[in-house]
Symmetry: C2
Subunit: 258 residues, 2 copies
């Protein structure tokens, strides 16, 4: 019979996935207790725990010890953490080249700002089927204000920068893009910080970045998709080239032929 050859924890994972797909489990629901799940599926508790651990890292469930309504494993479906862990580790393991991460981020963010600009059309929207009239960018603007503080360290500035770019993705309303952008961003966080330390003049660079941010937001507000897209492209390509001493689309330096 099929299924017997699968590893025990895979059986658990598939069972839970089937419950999700069939609607027996929905966000907010409690999973059965680990011991009960083990008994139901005929596997050991440790196998159940391995499956639950995977689901937790992937952002599908949240676990809490103790008793009461908030205890146990609860379906949450928050993809951000899982995507970040996946991309961070793949970059660490050299499965994802940093340049590919940046290129992908560039594509997604350019599309996001172009759509935001399109949706920002003052009158007549994109039609009655338009996603959401006038996406909320007040949070993004507030982040830009916070970045004007003169005594920010590189790390603080970059943390706000991350939040700003992420807020644009959030404003687009696309859950997949939001989570992916969060993952891409966290994957290269270390590189962005390392690059900032090697810059000739941080004050000069950060001033330029601030100005570019304002320009992007202005282009969105003025409903100019192509301008917004172009500004994002030069913003990201510029920072990459400045911190890596080569343009984004160049071949990386040949690996040492040791």
């Amino acid at each position: 019979m099929p299924g017997t050859d699968r590893r025990a924890w895979e059986v658990v994972l598939e069972s839970i996935e089937a419950d999700l797909l069939s609607g027996r489990l929905a966000p907010g629901d409690h999973l059965p207790a680990e011991r009960a799940l083990a008994a139901d599926l005929g596997v050991g508790r440790s196998s159940v725990r391995e499956a639950l651990r995977v689901l937790e890292v992937l952002g599908l469930i949240r676990t809490a010890a103790g008793s009461g309504p908030s205890a146990g494993a609860i379906v949450v479906a928050l993809p951000g953490g899982g995507m970040s862990a996946l991309m961070r580790l793949q970059v660490a393991a050299q499965g994802f080249p940093v340049a590919d991460v940046v290129k992908t981020r560039l594509i997604l963010e350019a599309a996001v700002v172009a759509e935001l600009a399109r949706a920002s059309e003052p009158a007549g929207d994109t039609g009655p089927a338009g996603a959401s009239a006038h996406p909320d960018l007040t949070g993004s603007a507030q982040l830009l204000d916070a970045m004007e503080a003169p005594d920010l360290t590189e790390a603080e500035f970059l943390a706000l920068d991350t939040q700003f770019h992420l807020s644009l993705a959030t404003a687009s309303g696309n859950q997949v893009i939001t989570a992916t952008m969060a993952g891409l961003r966290s994957a290269i966080e270390g590189y962005a910080q390392a690059g900032a330390l090697g810059l000739a003049s941080w004050a000069e660079t950060s001033a330029r970045l601030r100005g570019e941010h304002r320009g992007i937001l202005a282009a969105i507000d003025s409903a100019d998709p192509e301008l917004a897209r172009a500004l994002v492209v030069s913003h990201i390509e510029g920072y990459y080239a400045e911190t890596h001493d080569r343009p984004l689309h160049a071949r990386p330096p040949a690996p040492e032929p040791t």
Copy 2:
């Protein structure tokens, strides 16, 4: 002291991530045996196994029992499987709306074919820094030939369709996009199949899809980025609208107010 309050399996995960980042671990390397790892880090073997399970699902390692050089846990960094699992489960758990998945796929694939068309410029490339001259699309073309077989079932056709679209991403050479496209595609595989069964005329639709595929490839070959992009957009939007009875950018029908 920090780190003590973290859960045991997180300690293992962080330890391995640190080894990857520092270069102590690289693709192809063996991880220490589970029992040794547990002893080194002062945790139980079950905690080590939970961490390794996560790494395995994320595509970071491959495990094999037995003895010899191929046994044990080996760093592999194959992001496709992990991305697929993550997106499939997030769609199942309603963290990712299907429409957002399709929209994201549309953005990425449009960018991919546009870049392929740009790189297909017959002479003078994109300069000495160009990614790779003339990306290899023979595999993509062969898949289209295979899709001409008249006796294909819906499932077989869609499987080839998945491979075709994935081959385009692969041809771009971008690891992140390739893995992401694989994940997006596997996440909506079930919906694509269910949609195919509800079509008025599968023969008619599949014939149209075949023609559109040829057109996309032709646009790439003729180095026309904008045409390739437009064809991809209408290809994906068309299939979505046909199988969901509404355009991709429309609001989904209001949920039942039960």
